[in-house]
Amino acid sequence: MSGHVTELVVFVVLFLAVSVMGFVAARWRRPETIESLHEWGLGGRNFGSWITWFLVGGDLYTAYTFVAVPALVFGAGALGFYALPYTVVVYPLVFLVLTRMWSVSHVHGFVTPADFVRARFGSPTLALAIAITGLVATMPYIALQLVGIEAVLKSMGITGHLPIVIAFAILAAYTYQSGLRAPALIAFVKDALIYIVILVAVLYLPAKLGGWGSIFDAAKAKFDATPAPGDGITLNANNQLQYVTLAFGSALALFLYPHSLTGVLASKNRNVIKRNMSALPAYSLVLGLIALLGYMAIAAGTKPVVGANGRPDTNTIVPRLFDQLFPDWFTGVAYAAIGIGALVPAAIMSIAAANLFTRNIYREYLNKDATDAQEAKVSKVVSLVVKVGAVLCILLLDPQFSIDLQLIGGVIILQTLPAVALGLYTRWFHRGGLLAGWAAGLAAGMWMLYLIPNPANGKAHFGGSAFPLANFGFDTKMTLYAGFLALIVNLVVAVLGTLAFRAAKVADGPDATRREHYFVDEGDPRVKDLDLTGSH
């Protein structure tokens, strides 16, 4: 611990400075009143290109990414690099989809994906299914941000849970106070710090380690020496499809998470979204370089911190690398970047989860006549409850368990794709078919994840997302991303279910949206009139 005093001081000072910003944010772009859900939860929906870029980026590239992606590359090599194609593919993929979502949401006052599904398919039940899926998928994501902070703290020699509880108490307080404005403002600082750290890391570290060529050679030598068949600095015949389906499946899932939609809906108009979809890949470059920190750690001979259970915690590999090669004060800056990087997404996620609960469970089932002020109040309280729940997850459960939950979260959020994303394009599906597909996809996904062992830590179930096709009786070692397979099951059942319900003449729900609602933009009289859906 004594060797980490400078790091600790820099870390604490930066962390506190950012916390003060969070509280001041309530005054930034001050609305007439913050006592309405639109103001608190969506920042008044008037963020321009720059703020949206920071907000959406701040929310997609989390502390966990900075810690876990290099850890994966450190352990498995090329497969861990899937994060790069994933973030290249995602923006062109959602370019048109999100502009439609923005338009229809602004006409009808939707705040969550479940709001849209309810109006589009006239089914509160389907909307409830989508809302619960979103909540369940978001919770472990928030808990994972704590794993990121914990990795940094562990590397500074700090054990115990008190520091994390304090960090999250601060976060909870300023989100309660300022809503979405807090993470939007802090995202500037977070990104600035991360860019500085990464630029320095990719220029300074390779020079210290003998250049990029020798870094890759060191990694290759390490993987050649291990008996594990799946690792290496390039892919092999068995994991290529896993790489492709994991990248594509993750790209499909990303904007189905309620929190990524929050940032998108908060933008000012359709062009802000389009411009952002072209500018956000700037983060992909950073992500690719961050992933390669895993190889630098191999070349530098970095050893992860050994956890309380006697196993090395590979999540500490990047913090340890910084500690080993940077001067103390800069290590402190880097640690603060990771720590603050955890706060921004955690704040946005808890706001999105709170919106889901308030709109699709509280107002739908508990208090149908809720006023704007009541909704905002409930949202604020739920965002607190969600964060307390995330802290409890870390305190009471094995951190490994939240990583498993996150894995499951990705698979289950994908099952909302037919209703949410395809729903923006077609009203062909029957609400009953979509519900059946959702259930079948979830069941198939859970079953596949249950069958996947992890030989590395001796777990028999939920050991990863690479589903061996041998389970279907094929004579191959090839693996595929379980979420992708579950989505195929989902789609097939949704199509067959729709045909069956139509044939049986089961009543379908009414569609509250109209074709032109998907294309309106800022300035159109319908966009501003949020009372249309009766949010009172």
Partner: protein, 69 residues
């Protein structure tokens, strides 16, 4: 908004949108980049070519944005 035609049908269809397919498909074709050689600045092909695909992605989305706004 004084044209009196707020209900004028609009659409997001454009031939430019097809350009978005390129950055979606290219990064998923592993046979293009799954090799160590040739290296660029010490980076194996697997890494530098995939990083180069970011440029393809940015160019395509920027072009589509400019042409359809």
């Amino acid at each position: 908004m004084t044209t009196g035609e707020p209900g004028q049908p609009r659409t997001d269809r454009s031939p430019w949108n097809w350009l978005l397919v390129l950055p979606i498909v290219l990064p998923l074709l592993t046979f293009l980049f799954n090799a160590d050689e040739p290296r660029l600045l010490g980076f194996p092909l697997f890494y530098w070519l995939q990083i180069a695909f970011i440029v393809v992605g940015v160019s395509c989305t920027t072009l589509v944005y400019r042409m359809t706004r």
